[in-house]
């Protein structure tokens, strides 16, 4: 047991990559399937980026679906009007998502606490409503942006099935690597300090506003890549990509997995999608009720989420040892 944990601690990225890349082999044994595996990767990337904002700086955005959705629409529109090639589409999508995040971040990050949450929520709902009605002719309104008979491809290789899975997995592993580097960097240290004591930080010569914007934009870039991949994976854009419930799900995932740990939100995303799509079948109509109860139990008894739970179990198993040095 200790040996396993020591390997985990020494080679976290390698272990992570192995678990992700071997998913096609072990996932079906627990009732998973290909499409879900890819979708988990995409949401994991989304949640991972969100952790750089919520987990590090403590800013609870209820409008992060904006970047996921805006980028998804940009990708879809590129496919529709430009070409099936994913590279230009994804580049444009990420640029659009990033621009949106710079503007919205600049306007909202001056507020904190619930004012920030509500402001991001208001921005999100505004865009969602516009996508449904005002811009309906571009977005396809409630029907979603449909892309008949097209298969996104990269340099002529069709992006479906396993090719898509491994591409997404590679992006996720890269994303995880980058996030870990950020976490260990001076930049990451200062982001975590924002959550810890923002006022002290301001009086320590740090331009907190810029760091917050930095975190916001980075997390929005993750969201944009995820949103874009979503459309590559399935050439279809639904309006609910922009809806507050998408942001809400993201929050649920991060909290259940464990905020600020990077791996936590990934586990949270995997758990939630697995629950929603596999465990919901035996549970029937009441699955959402069960999920709500699980969520509440975690917030009440295990504020650190699953990752905290694992730590507790581990400590129980090996007897109490070391104060769990942060990594």
């Amino acid at each position: 047991m200790e040996y396993v944990v020591s390997i985990l601690k020494k080679f976290p990225l390698t272990v992570f990559a192995l678990v992700v890349l071997t998913m096609p082999f072990w996932f079906p044994w627990i009732g998973g399937y290909g499409g879900l595996a890819t979708k988990i990767m995409i949401w994991a990337l989304f949640a991972l980026g969100f952790d750089i904002l919520l987990g590090f700086t403590g800013y609870l955005s209820f409008g992060h679906a904006i970047f996921f959705g805006v980028s998804a629409y940009a990708t879809g529109l590129m496919f529709k009007h430009f070409s099936d090639e994913i590279i230009p589409a994804m580049i444009v999508a990420v640029i659009v998502g990033t621009l949106a995040s710079v503007i919205i971040g600049y306007l909202t990050l001056k507020k904190s606490g619930i004012y920030f949450s509500i402001l991001t929520l208001a921005f999100g709902e505004m865009l969602h409503s516009s996508a449904l009605s005002t811009f309906g002719s571009f977005t396809g309104g409630e029907n979603g942006l449909t892309l008949p008979d097209m298969i996104p491809s990269m340099l002529g290789i069709e992006m479906r099935g396993e090719v898509m899975f491994y591409m997404t997995a590679a992006v996720l592993i890269l994303g995880y690597y980058i996030a870990r580097r950020i976490s260990a960097s001076p930049f990451g240290l200062i982001l975590k300090a924002i959550k810890s004591n923002q006022e002290r930080l301001e009086y320590t010569g740090i331009d907190v506003q810029k760091y917050k914007l930095g975190a916001f934009v980075i997390s929005a870039i993750y969201a944009s890549v995820a949103g874009s991949l979503m459309v590559v994976y399935e050439p279809y854009v639904g309006t609910e990509y922009l809806r507050w419930s998408t942001s809400g799900n993201l929050v649920l995932m991060s909290v259940m997995g464990g905020m600020g740990t990077l791996i936590g939100p990934i586990i949270g995303a995997a758990f939630m999608l697995y629950f929603e799509n596999v465990l919901s079948v035996p549970l029937g109509e009441e699955w959402l009720l069960v999920l709500g109860l699980i969520f509440m139990a975690i917030v009440i008894f295990l504020p650190g989420g699953f990752t905290d739970g694992f730590k507790l179990i581990y400590k129980k198993l090996i007897g109490k040892k070391s104060d769990g040095e942060e990594n």
Partner: protein, 257 residues
């Protein structure tokens, strides 16, 4: 940083006034703090000491007046810009990063000193070593070397103050502002703090101290300014201030309330 000051005045508050609604918190306050001195600010409760400190650190904008630090006008500057100019503040209740280890607490100001107020150094791991060893030295200086990997929230109140002092020092400021640095400390802790501050000052640090404990004030200060009802009523060396009738009146007035 290396800019040479043209006068021997490091901090110059000129006719600073602040109005909160109808309340005149500060009224034409003039305060000059000289290089390499410890300058104390005393006065009864509600005299405007905290307001003045907050004006200096950029938290409050005065109604009128000016604040010049090291030849740079400081009004309209944000707290972090003021800090980058070399002015660090030790808060009344210790302001630290409670969930972080001591070493990380001190690395942050060290980074701010090295990289400025913002740097997108997401991948830079190199150079962290020197920052860390510098942080360690600073912690050693304030006497916290033994617990550098402890989380700050587990420290005693006195140690939290030391940590905060280390945070301020790690930025290599030109001047320290201390808001009641010994509040709530036991006697021996207070004495240790006095020694520590003396040691720091002797290496060439300007300090402004707001303090209630007269033992601390008289043990440390070269100059004392007395603030009452928003105005400076007396200023001078400890001995001059001690005998000033206005000061006695101001303090007695407080006691009668």
């Amino acid at each position: 940083m290396s800019k040479k000051s043209t006068s021997d005045v490091m901090l110059d508050c000129y006719q600073v006034s602040k109005n909160f609604g109808g309340l005149q918190a500060l009224n034409d306050v003039n305060l000059k703090v000289k290089h390499n001195t410890i300058h104390s600010l005393i006065g009864p409760n509600g005299a405007g000491k905290s307001t003045l400190l907050n004006v200096i650190t950029g938290m409050i904008t005065p109604t009128h007046g000016s604040v010049v630090f090291d030849d740079t006008p400081m009004l309209d500057l944000k707290p972090h810009e003021i800090n980058q100019l070399g002015l660090a503040k030790v808060f009344q209740t210790p302001a630290i990063f409670p969930e972080m280890t001591l070493i990380k607490n001190v690395c942050i100001p060290a980074l701010a000193a090295r990289d400025g107020s913002f740097k997108l150094n997401m991948f830079q791991k190199a150079g962290m070593k020197s920052i860390e060893s510098f942080a360690e030295e600073t912690l050693e200086e304030v006497g916290l070397k033994d617990s550098i990997h402890k989380e700050a929230r587990f420290l005693s109140r006195g140690d939290k103050r030391r940590l905060e002092l280390a945070i301020c020092l790690a930025h290599r400021p030109k001047m320290l502002l201390l808001d009641e640095p010994t509040a709530g400390m036991a006697r021996h802790e207070t004495e240790n703090t006095i020694l520590l501050l003396r040691k720091i000052a002797d290496r060439g640090m300007t300090m402004v101290i707001v303090e209630h404990d007269m033992n601390v004030v008289f043990a440390l200060s070269e100059t004392i300014s007395v603030l009452a009802q928003g105005t400076i009523i007396a200023e001078g060396t400890p001995d001059e201030v001690k005998g000033n009738p206005k000061v006695i009146e101001a303090y007695l007035g407080e006691e009668q309330e």
